[in-house]
């Protein structure tokens, strides 16, 4: 236990966290769940380095991203950075080592990603992500596959009660299309969009005397979601770009119904993602239990071009720690974050070898077994096991074993029964 919190060796850097046994187990299960679901859709896992050249990451994510990166200096003075997400490293991989693979390329990943600084306090700077990228096709079918897979992967990670909001960056571009804003103001529009500053956007359009229907469409945008959103969008936006987006989203909706995930997906034209490489659909998964998205993704057709391979692509990433946080939101935390084995095994005097053999046999059958290594008296071992919620305490002697299970009175059984699968320890099975 920390004694003096002022001592630095007791601390971890801001924006990082420790994962205690129960959380770590859930994280591993959730990660495995996502990768297994991805594999069922034909996505192969890749692993890339945690550190990349700064140039690679900036090439993928734009010069502005450099501010957000966690940077390091290599021995030769080259600038390195910790990956802030996995899409750019996967794009680099697709443009180099996987360049000659046939398209479509279906790639999955899971790993830790890093941010140099988060705008707000209490945001993590190191967190686990798992996701998929579908590289090659530029079609509604490909978008439908990635959204349907995102829903399946979120479910496989253990999330429930979530929904996925689906929008399109082209819709806003449709609202702004043909307005002929001068360069500075066009950049200003983009900046205001990322800041989600609709008041500022309105001011800017009014300054340029944009037609009233454009202003109406812009101000309606945050509410353009749900069943009637596309009809309303068609009514509001008259540019060919905007109408094309509405048509694409309608066809995507039909494809998602065929995948059986339309219940989990809602059209939402107000979705704005933080990364600037998105060119088509964008989507986010969320639950009422958390104020931040569980999942984000979309189409990025020009990212691979920055690496010399002009391939369209679409993908998503799941914020695993948020999926886990949503699970426990509102329920009191177990103080100890306890994780206990299925059984503890102690030895009578001189019977250490028998106890070890018994534990080995139980482990072979899938039980988690902890051997008593402190040499404490049996009563103390059994009492502590009961207090910690360990299902069974076993004292192995010569040929016999004493077993305590739950609140039941102690029973003495042949040692072979405990280790061999008959009798007390076998009931309940590996959990």
């Amino acid at each position: 236990m920390p004694r003096d919190p002022r001592e630095r060796w007791q601390l971890i850097p801001s924006g990082t966290r420790d994962w205690l046994p129960r959380e770590a187990v859930r994280l591993r299960e959730a990660t495995a769940g996502v990768l297994a679901e991805a594999a069922r859709w034909g996505y192969r896992e890749v692993v890339t380095p945690t550190i990349e050249y700064l140039d690679v990451l900036v090439r993928g994510e734009g010069a502005d991203a450099a501010d957000r990166l966690f940077k390091l200096v290599d021995r030769g003075g080259e600038l390195l950075a910790l990956r802030p997400e996995m899409t750019t490293p996967v794009a680099r991989l697709a443009a180099t080592r996987l360049r000659d693979e046939p398209v479509p390329l279906r790639v999955a990943y899971a790993g830790w990603v890093f941010r140099g600084r988060e705008a707000a306090s209490a945001r993590l700077r190191e967190f686990p992500q798992a996701g998929c990228e579908l590289i090659g096709p530029q079609s509604v079918d490909a978008d439908a596959e990635i959204v349907a897979l995102a829903v399946g992967a979120l479910r496989a990670a253990g999330a429930s009660g979530f929904s996925v909001s689906l929008g399109h960056v082209g819709f806003l571009q449709g609202v702004l299309a043909g307005l002929d804003l001068p360069g500075d103001d066009a950049a200003g529009v983009r900046a205001l969009l990322y800041q989600k500053d609709f008041v500022g956007l309105r001011d800017l359009l009014e300054r340029h005397r944009a037609p009233a229907d454009r202003l109406d469409a812009l101000m309606a945008l945050p509410a353009l979601r749900g069943a009637g959103a596309l009809e309303e969008a068609r009514r509001l936006v008259h540019t060919p770009e905007g109408q094309g987006v509405v048509r694409d989203l309608e066809r995507l909706g039909e494809a998602l119904a065929a995948h059986g995930v339309d219940d989990a997906v809602t059209i939402d034209l107000s979705i704005i993602r933080d990364f600037d490489y998105y060119t088509g659909i964008v989507f986010e998964g969320h639950t009422a239990a958390l104020g931040a998205p569980l999942l984000g993704g979309g189409r990025y057709d020009r990212l691979l071009d920055r690496f010399g391979v002009p391939l369209p692509a679409t993908g998503f990433a799941i914020r695993l720690e948020r999926v886990l946080a949503a699970e426990i939101a509102g329920t009191p935390d177990d103080a100890a974050q306890a994780w206990v084995p299925d059984a503890v095994v102690a030895a009578e005097a001189g019977c250490g070898a028998e106890a070890a053999a018994c534990a080995r046999a139980l482990r072979a059958r899938g039980f988690a077994v902890a051997l008593e290594v402190l040499g404490r008296p049996w009563e103390q071992v059994a009492a502590e096991a009961a207090r910690r919620g360990v299902a069974r305490a076993i004292l192995v002697g010569r040929g016999t074993a004493r077993v305590r299970e739950g609140g039941a009175p102690e029973r003495t059984v042949p040692a072979a029964d405990v280790a061999g699968g008959r009798g007390a320890a076998a009931r309940g099975g590996a959990s």
Binding site: G15, R17, A119, A120, S121, A122, L124, S163, S165, Q195, K196, D197, F198, V199, G200, R202, P222, A223, R225, G226, T266, D268, S270, D274, E284, H286, T287, A288, A289, L290, G291, A292, P293, E321, R322, L324, A325, A329, G330
Partner: protein, 220 residues
């Protein structure tokens, strides 16, 4: 470290700022039909139950308000544009509420009003270090920011800084302290901001609040 657990899905929480924007914020919520008259004035409670069961209002310090909204502890909030500019939070800024008008300006003692551009190093005291730093960065001019929490206009009088970047309404405080405005950095009014997930997970309830607030602003 993990995002906060949130209240039941049925209840919408609006955060209003204590201080200079509180009256205006409460008047808007009252005009939108969410608060009963001045009942909130009579207590020192920080959470005020609304006139409707589905809405409550919490009163937060302006500097903390966007934290409540960004983390989803409040679904909506009323915040000055000055704070939005300074803090750069991940929230949707949807409605200009039209009250709380003020400006962020750079001001110097009268004797420096003409010559401040030649000062090196230039020391500026402010409650808005990020906005100020961005401004001077955009001008390509080095600056030393002295971050403060209040009575910024005192700093140049006692030699802590050469000038200040601060909010002005009438300009009286500046005049009384012998300070002269030399540049305007931004104009500010109160804004309605919304948590990005609330906009979706409680869409109907949150959209209703936005619509009624917008109508109240239009009618004002």
């Amino acid at each position: 470290m993990t995002p906060e657990a949130r209240q039941s899905a049925a209840l919408v929480t609006v955060a209003a700022p204590s201080g200079r924007l509180l009256d205006g914020a409460m008047r808007i919520l009252e005009a939108a039909g969410y608060l009963d008259g001045d009942a909130w004035r009579e207590s020192r409670r920080l959470i005020v139950q609304g006139a409707e069961p589905g809405l409550r209002c919490l009163i937060a310090k302006p500097v903390d308000l966007l934290t409540y909204v960004e983390h989803g502890a409040a679904d909506l909030g009323i915040a000055g544009k000055d704070v939005l500019l300074e803090q750069g939070r991940d929230v949707y800024e949807l409605v200009d509420l039209g009250f709380g008008t003020c400006r962020g300006v750079l001001a110097f003692p009268g004797r420096l009003a003409e010559s401040w551009e030649r000062l090196t190093p230039l020391r500026i005291a402010t409650k808005y270090p990020h906005v100020t730093e961005r401004y001077f960065w955009g001008q390509g001019r080095p600056v030393e920011i002295i971050a403060m929490n209040g009575t910024v206009e005192l700093a140049p009088l006692v030699g802590l800084a050469d000038g200040i970047m601060d909010l002005v309404m009438s300009g009286r405080t500046l005049r009384e302290n012998g300070l002269v405005e030399v540049a305007e950095l931004f104009q500010s009014t109160a804004r309605l901001v919304v948590n990005r997930i609330s906009l979706r997970s409680r869409a109907d309830a949150v959209a209703a609040v936005i619509d009624r607030v917008r109508a109240a602003v239009a009618a004002a």
